[in-house]
Amino acid sequence: MRRIGVYICHCGTNIAGKIDVEKLAEYARGLPYVAVARDYRFMCSEPGQEQIRKDIREHGLDRVVVAACSPRMHEQTFRKVCQESGINPYFLQIANIREQCSWVSEDPAGAMHKAMDLLRAAVERVVRHRPLPSQEVRVHPDVLVVGGGIAGIQAALDIAEGGHRVHLVERLQSIGGHMAQLDKTFPTLDCSACILTPKMVAAGTHPLITLHTYSEVADVSGFVGNFRVTIRHKATYVDHKRCTGCGICQQKCPKRVPSEYEEGLGLRKAIYTLFPQAVPNKPVIDRQNCIYFTKGRCRACEKFCEMKAIDFHQEDWEEVVDVGSIIVATGYDLMDPSVMELYGYGRYPNVITPLQFERMASAAGPTGGRILLKDGKEPKDVAILHCVGSRDKNYHEYCSRVCCMYALKFAHLIRERTSANVFHFYMDMRCFGKGYEEFYERVQSEGAILIRGKAARITDEGLASEEEGRLVVHAEDTLSGESLRVPVDLVILATAMEPRSDAEDVARAFRLGRSRDGFFLEQHPKLAPVSTASAGIFLAGTCQGPKDIPDTVAHASAAAAKSLSLASRGMVEVESMVSEIDPELCAGCRTCVALCPAEAIEYLPRLRVSRIQAALCQGCGACAAACPSGAAQLKHFTSDQILSEIDALMGA
């Protein structure tokens, strides 16, 4: 004979405001097997928990039903209470009478009725609960970090400093990411390279960090604590073990193409490093442009390389590494503003993107840090358009968070280096970080002209001869109500940060969710901002949403802390609610094998049945749903448990 204790939570007025909790407790006392039923203001509080412990002891309860909030909130809390009192933690059932009842019901009588149904179903179900063991598996101490921008570098360094090996995978031939392209950083105006390069070097030389540059993750299998990752190394056509990075090959290569790193403003060779401070500072050959690969001739690099490091026969190769956790730090793309035809990007040469401006402003960039127009002259007037593609339902609804600040930084740099007027066309000035408002005031005092209104369009239609060849920004200054046409020489579009174009594929590979804006979805927007729905996989930086550098670094360190805490504990509790297959019933059809996302099901040809490897099973239940004979069952969600719950819900 079961002895069930039923505990009904008031949750302040959250539940008790709609449902008569005392009457509900009274109802519970009339249900089969119920030995005790109580209501209490806050069941999750220590006195509430203590009441359950006491009842288990004194009344010999062997099952507990808590009618309260969603099991997402406190299922773990009450399982622990059960365990501490000597009964199996899975002898608990939560009836969600808050999110699914009091909060969503308008009519108190209806809510009461529903609460009674839910409670009765929970009682019927808990009777059929079976004890499940707690299981732990070893956590592989190494960590994979995907993406070598500032987020990936920071996370890798934190983990390596914590004493664990890190595999840092970067798609390009050098780590550094977007930050390596920036000139100065707001609001302190540190030189981006000056603060980033030491970190890049530290990551490149750390004995516990293995850099996998010019590489991509080809496959991920396994689960928290035990991931197996296949890394595909793209052919560089340069033997990096022999290469000393002397640079002679780059000097001798005759082929010049627009440089991606310089955002098309400068040229690079067909054999090239990304930039002089690249880590590792070894070149790769760009097959699409190399004269040898396209025409079968040249080989200048090979001829001049004293180390004999050029290897045109190199092929892509794969490497498998085992890790305990993964940090995804794949960053963002800058939106291509040419789709917004009204701003003329691509049509007017002096309409540029922020990264183009950064390269122009950089002393190491193609103009040596001088702000110049396409014809080499200095601009007299510059317009910066805020919110290009951000806060715009036609493109991205969200605020990109960094544009206001870098726009102000641009104004500062322009005022510092030229005598140009700088016009900001903004809708709201969002300067919310530490020292940001102060920076805004500083740039205002430096003479930036602030126009509160979104630019309606940019034309090249000068009205007078002195406007010939200039650009005209049309906007309303909404604060004065005046319509403006502002002739300028250079327009910088503060374009939106958007999810990487391959975010969909990355999400699938790592089993990540994506939010409506397309960025990777964190487990909880406030309380679990680096965790994901996949245990052991964490997010760092702008792949989760637009961030500035300080926020990115903080986010990355948080992700590193998550990986470190897994690694340092060395063990992780794995799901007890796993599936199992009854070999007596299994017909060996292997439908479940094909469906299992965790690859946890193996087929045993001799016995002609399939078997679930409990350590790999994530408890998703796909096998149980697909198995027609019911041979596969998900523990704690077995057919008899669910059907009895439904029966009780439907029954009077």
């Binding site: 009204l342 919110c387 979104k454 630019a455 309303e476 909404t478 109500g481 403006l484």
Partner: protein
């Protein structure tokens, strides 16, 4: 020849420093407008002004300003919006609507405001005549025998002068001859 200008009424001349009394405002007005077809998006406006900046009427008319009209609706200035001729100034050119970052269907919204204004009797003089023509003939330019003769001369087929069934369709339209009493 003289071209008539509909100058703004005092209600629109908010002017600097004029104090609006809360009692003059109807805070349900925005909801009422957003219930009209086309008015749905109005509450999303964040007043960036890209509508006004591109508006061709705004360039030539002293007070017409779509951003400000939206603000007036959101603020509940019902009488000022519905009694003034300015809602009729929108050219329905869709320039603003195409560019609005918030997806406010500004041209449709102006259409909805015209519908509302008309219900309280505010409309240009020509409207009742147009409605009557459509009700009686189904076309704004009914063809008579003389017209069809000219058409024939130009090598064009003659066309019917009226479409009676249109009147049946428009039977529910209020008689616009006299403004409704408030």
């Amino acid at each position: 020849m003289d071209a008539q200008r509909n100058d703004p009424s005092p209600a629109v001349e908010m002017g600097e420093g004029r104090m609006m009394d809360e009692g003059e405002l109807d805070f349900g007005f925005a909801q009422e407008v957003s219930a009209e077809p086309g008015g749905e998006g109005i509450v999303k406006c964040f007043a960036c002004g890209s509508c006004s900046a591109g508006c061709p009427v705004r360039r030539f008319h002293p007070t017409f300003n779509p951003r400000r009209i939206i603000r007036m609706v959101l603020l509940g200035m019902r009488d000022a919006v519905l009694r003034d001729p300015f809602v009729w100034l929108c050219a329905t050119c869709f320039t603003c609507q195409e560019r609005c970052p918030q997806g406010v269907r500004i041209a449709d919204l102006m259409r909805a405001l015209k519908n509302l204004a008309l219900r309280s009797g505010n409309m240009p003089e020509g409207i009742p005549m147009q409605v009557n023509l459509l009700r009686e003939k189904g076309t704004l330019y009914p063809l008579d025998e003389f017209d069809n003769k000219k058409r024939t001369k130009a090598g064009l087929p003659p066309l019917p002068g009226a479409h009676e069934d249109v009147g049946v369709l428009l039977g529910d339209l209020a008689d616009l001859g006299r403004p409704k009493e408030e």
